[in-house]
Structures are given as structure tokens and as C-alpha cells.
Amino acid sequence: VRLASNHERLHAAGVELVAISVDDEVRQAGMARRWGLSPVRMVSDPDGARFLRPLELFDPVERGGIALPAMVGIGPDGTEFYRYRGRDFADRTNDDDLFTAVEALGLAPVDPPPHRPSVEVPADLGGFFRPEDFAAYFRGNLFGAQAIAGRLTDPDARAVALQHRDMAKATVDAWQEWRTRLG
């Protein structure tokens, strides 16, 4: 959501966005519809064979095999210019590093067409994570991390808690901007 809300900045820097998971295309199409993710091309890699395993960003144990939370940037010449791998499910870094790396490439802007799923979007989106729950989820993260940071005295541990707080705040902020656009 954070990157989708910044897709214009990424496109202006010459970068296209894809999202990869083991979900099938129908599940991805439903999520993209619910979240208004048309600037992002959704890619299904059910067994991880195409992307996740070769990129060494696959957790074979959890839920029978899923993607590790990660971000990979590939330049037009095939050079990997950015890689971030989350330590756990809640570890999503701030995006400043990514934007710095992307804008340092000095590429011409791109204008990719909105992604349209090749499968039919499910009529009933009841089983999908609800956008209205998103802000509450990350606000909970924000205040929990803030409180824990206040209790910790070890500077390294405190830094981890504050980093998590900042991630949650950045995500809530991006969501509010995105929600405004969704209307």
C-alpha cells in the first residue's frame, strides 16, 4: 500500500511495480480490487519455482511455503540495485532507502498501463482483509511499539521498537493518502 500510494513517484523515476505471492490469480485479483492496486502488476508464483525460490526469498515451512516479506529492485540491465528482506511478518522497512536507490538510477519516466487481472474478480470479497481494518491494525502496531519503546532501556532494543513504530506510522500515513484517492 505504501508503494502503491507512491506509484507516481516510482513511475517518474522509471520504475514499474509488481507484487508476487503464492496466492492464486483469483485471490490476487480480489485483493487488488479491494485495495485499488491497479498500478501494481500482480504475479502468482504458487510453488515459488518461478521467482521466490530462485531469488532465495521463499519460506518453505510456513503455510506449506510462502514468500518472505521482501523487496527486490532490478535495473534495466539486469543488475539488482536494491534488496530488502524482512526479518519477520511485521518487519516492513521504511521506503526512503528504496526511493534513494531508485532515483539514483537516473532513468527516464515510465507510464505503464493499469494492471487488469486475466481472471474474473471474485464477486464476494467477504473473505479478504478489509481496507477499513487496515488503519486500526497499523495504529495498534504504532501505539504498542511506542509503549514498548518507552519501557525499554537498552538502546539497541529501543531502536528496534522505534523503527517498528515509524514503519507503522508511515503505513498509516500512506493508507490515509491512498484511502483519499480510493474515495
Binding site: G14, S21, A67, G75
Partner: protein, 31 residues
């Protein structure tokens, strides 16, 4: 990684509609 072979890098670049760069977000799914 050598380009020209079917590598994940080549396959990622093939997902583009332009000659730009690509950023892949990997997520755990089941949202």
C-alpha cells in the same frame, strides 16, 4: 546472473511494459 537465460531476473524484466527498472514486492499472501 547472465541475461538471455530463463533466470528470475530475466523473467522479472519481462513483466515490464517499458524499458525501465522493476521493483518486486514479495508478500506473504492470503490477505
Amino acid at each position: 546472473v547472465r541475461l538471455g537465460e530463463r533466470t528470475p531476473v530475466r523473467e522479472l524484466l519481462d513483466l515490464r511494459s517499458s524499458d525501465g527498472a522493476i521493483v518486486a514486492m514479495l508478500y506473504r499472501g492470503d490477505w
